[in-house]
Symmetry: C2
Subunit: 371 residues, 2 copies
């Protein structure tokens, strides 16, 4: 048992998340804790909710930060929208599509999987074909930005398909939100969940979610209550519902919410479009730097995410030794997951980490490590 | 939509939680975020786990902070230990016993409730009678410290009963841990969950849990996987398991864990026994102060928790106006919950808030508000 304080070093976080958190956001999390039912806190919740609606580009009333990491927000969306026996079509082109399958199966859903190679965007035509032969499907679920592969899928087209086939669309935008366009209302997405530790550059631990009125109606019409009391949106909304009186459900993570609120203010000051443009520009710099080192990307250029890049490990290179050497220099990059383990490095350019200086440091560090 | 920074005031938090968080702990949460798979973080996790074992007074290997508030840790324990159709005996003497019932019913358990008046300890004899006529019961669940009423139950006796009747014991110690003795190994408790925002004086958002080898064996022997992927301890332990390699499950709330670790160091420096004694001493001062104001307690003296006190609202007093006036003075106390709404105030003396100065300020504030 250690009895020493923990003083983490200042890393340059260029893995799949968390990304770097600014001093400004960290200091916001350290403001005095107040009660989760304090009238000042209730006003603050309304402000946070408004900022999340702005971020998701939606008027959805059911927009809130789930009190847990992205995986909790993900499970909350599936748990509220799925009933046992429901049919769901899931697009699986990476680890998070696979996670959707596992969660849905545990909830007793009938799962139809549309597989695609890891490293490629979801095949919209294949999804349309699957929906055509599964007319009973109630939900189409997909990952907008696959953190395990760096592939970007066409969320607008998939949401449109869902609507044409009378399905709700359920979108993972954990890694996309803040880094590339996410337009819930314009795309008519019914449910979306995200994380705070990617392009929002907030500490991990909260999951912004937003559900359309169609999705909310589906929840109200459930035959059985959600199995999870903690995640049941009909209960959570009695606290987050907005307007005056709030009923106690669980104790909100007060200080983590301070950090999220401040991170959203930072993003608002920069502007969403400006943030998207910055991620795109720095991604261009990364591509040039990797090409300079003779390194190739897994994902075809027109399907790449700017904020999450899978770079192929060259033949004969000890991938773990390179990551360890970079970490010695204070730079974290990520390893490959699942079938990509050992084959790629994952280089994140998210939020505060999406800076020209980050690319320059990584360029130098990788050149040394590979020499 | 607000675009202003949120600067909460410094409250004296004397409600049912959160309690006051020291500057030292808040500053720990604001240390630089590092990756959840960083080797330094993995060592830090081992240290945190060691401190939690010390806190729970246990050698249980399955000891970890769940990545969510107390309610998430609660649901995780029930979800892992219960299978559909299992019989469970639940002691209900307040709002959190009622929550146990609701969660267990949603999970498809057959629930036997042993009711007791709100404001009283669980009746051990009634529980023994219930276990005798329900020999198939697999779990006995109870709340050690009922936050809704301020009643303290005999956890040791209840855990012993569970063992005699071949049940696992499942204990809510959200409000007891750190404030009064909690002895998992000496009492042979099989599963316990807590929160960080009570006597540990940490921001809300994490839930320390600990399960015995008997409980872990029950989980390994499940016929069906836990419905919740997020809460499945067999998956969570692949990350928190200890010793070397950790598998990614979900992104840990890195900065919140810094705060918990620091709060545990603070408690270790004071000493657990000294903390218990301080809570007891300050409770005595509160009793004297309330008696001085002619205020009575709901709970009989020998069943009272030192850290959570339900004080009866006198006839003819506007209970909400008193709370509002105290809040104007910067002092938060809690309202009554459920059947106690309007009848009591809940006065917390938890962790950093359990100080003679807190009682003195509340004494002055209440005298003014009641005059």
């Amino acid at each position: 048992m250690s009895n020493q304080g923990f003083y983490p070093p200042q890393r340059l976080l260029m893995g799949p998340g968390p990304s770097n958190v600014s001093r400004r956001v960290l200091e916001a999390t350290a403001r005095p804790t107040i009660g989760h039912l304090d009238p000042l806190f209730v006003d603050f919740m309304d402000a946070t909710k408004g900022l999340l609606q702005w971020l998701f580009r939606t008027d959805n009333a059911l927009t809130l930060p789930v009190s847990g990491p992205g995986t909790a927000g993900m499970e909350a969306c599936f748990a509220n929208l799925l009933e046992p026996g429901d049919e769901i079509v899931i697009c699986r082109n990476g680890a998070f599509g696979q996670r959707m399958v596992e969660m849905s199966e545990r909830m007793g859903a009938r799962v139809v999987v549309v597989d695609q190679d890891w490293g490629r965007a979801v095949d919209v035509d294949a999804v349309e074909a699957a929906l055509s032969v599964h007319p009973d499907a109630r939900i189409l679920a997909f990952v907008h930005a696959e953190t395990s592969t760096g592939a970007r899928s066409d969320a607008r087209a998939l949401a449109r398909l869902a609507r044409e086939h009378d399905c709700l669309s359920l979108m993972d935008c954990v890694t996309s939100l803040g880094g590339i366009p996410v337009e819930l209302d314009a795309w008519e997405v019914d449910a979306a969940y995200a994380g705070t530790q990617k392009c929002l550059s907030c500490p991990p631990g909260l999951s912004p979610v937003s559900l359309s009125e169609r999705a909310a109606a589906r929840i109200r019409a459930r035959e059985k209550p959600v199995q999870s009391w903690f995640m049941d949106f009909s209960l959570v909304m009695s606290y987050w519902g907005g307007g005056g009186k709030r009923a106690y459900h669980h104790t909100a993570p007060v200080n983590a919410l301070y950090g999220l609120h401040e991170a959203l203010l930072v993003l608002q000051e920069e502007g969403l479009e400006a943030s998207w443009a910055r991620h795109e520009r720095v991604h261009g710099e990364l591509v040039a730097a990797m090409e300079d080192l003779g390194l190739a990307f897994l994902v075809p250029a027109d399907e790449r995410l700017p904020q999450l890049n899978t770079v192929k490990v060259p033949e004969g290179v000890d991938k773990a030794a390179v990551r360890a050497q970079l970490l010695d220099e204070g730079i974290e990059i990520g390893a490959g997951l699942g079938p990509l383990a050992g084959k790629v490095w994952r280089v994140g350019l998210m939020g505060e980490s999406a800076r020209s200086e980050s690319v320059a440091r990584l360029h130098r560090g990788l050149r040394q490590a590979l020499s």
